[in-house]
Subunit: 82 residues, 5 copies
């Protein structure tokens, strides 16, 4: 599972039907790369989180039929930027 910092909410008014009710967050990785994840936890910007990819991303959602390949699984306590 990868480690990211939550940067912001993703604003996206036009999307496929399968993900219409999911909260989306913009994440920044350890090398500055940007990704987008579904968020069942409710994480505010600035927090460090870890994510599950692939099938596990859907298992981590309350509704497992949501179209996602990356989901925030937890907030990391006391993580320092490296």
């Amino acid at each position: 599972m990868q480690v990211w910092r939550v940067v912001d909410d993703l604003v996206c008014t036009r999307r496929v039907p399968g993900m219409s009710s999911a909260s989306l967050r913009v994440l920044k990785g350890q090398k500055g790369e940007i990704s987008v994840a579904t968020d069942p936890v409710g994480v505010p910007p600035g927090k460090w989180v870890f994510t599950a990819a692939g099938t596990a991303a859907r298992m981590a959602m309350p509704d497992r039929t949501v179209v996602t390949d990356l989901t925030i699984c937890g907030i990391i306590d006391g993580w320092e930027e490296e």
Copy 2:
């Protein structure tokens, strides 16, 4: 889910039967890498989008039997190139 800019349509006259009816787009990533995705949204060139990979790529298609490993899931509002 990854973030890309739509560059162009993909012109491909010879393809496997399983993807014959899908619209294909050429995408450019944050580091200039090129990829190809199926597009159920109908995105014009120049827009920033995010994609789902793997099984989620097929879940995002109206017809889930289409052969794809990357599908455009939504258009991002107000994205600035980084």
Copy 3:
């Protein structure tokens, strides 16, 4: 789906039983990386192609039980090296 140029056939006399009847091609990616894919299309060396990975690689084969994680899905028309 990734973009590659077909370099050559792969010569491999000793392989696992699950892939014994599949045609294999050596591919070169945009950064010079080398990979191997199954080819249900019949692509000659020098052509640019795109591939599907994972489960989609098996869905793209006429026989879906072939052991593969990368399959050529189509020949790209008029692609220029970038």
Copy 4:
């Protein structure tokens, strides 16, 4: 399967329900990249391990319904840092 060194336990008080009982470890890869894995073996910090990703990560857990995409599968004997 990838090779990592175990750095520490992951402290995470707020996480999704699907992974609540799993032990989590922080791993450092060969290029210094950081990742998080579930640990059914019980590995102390400093040891070199290898991991399985994707569906295999869940198959390696005693409880296969745990939400994970990376699981420690074994401790490597006598591994030298490269």
Copy 5:
């Protein structure tokens, strides 16, 4: 499918039950990266091989319940280091 050179056997006395009977090899990739794969072919060190990842890694094993995400699928004839 990726291309690797077999470096050595992996010595690992403590591992998860799901992979207890599988032969493990240490592989070195084109950029010097190290990985670990299950080996149903029986490949001696020094040979160039190609591997299948993900579900295909398990399909390539005689026993498909073995916990693995990377399996050697064949020995490449006459491969030159690039």
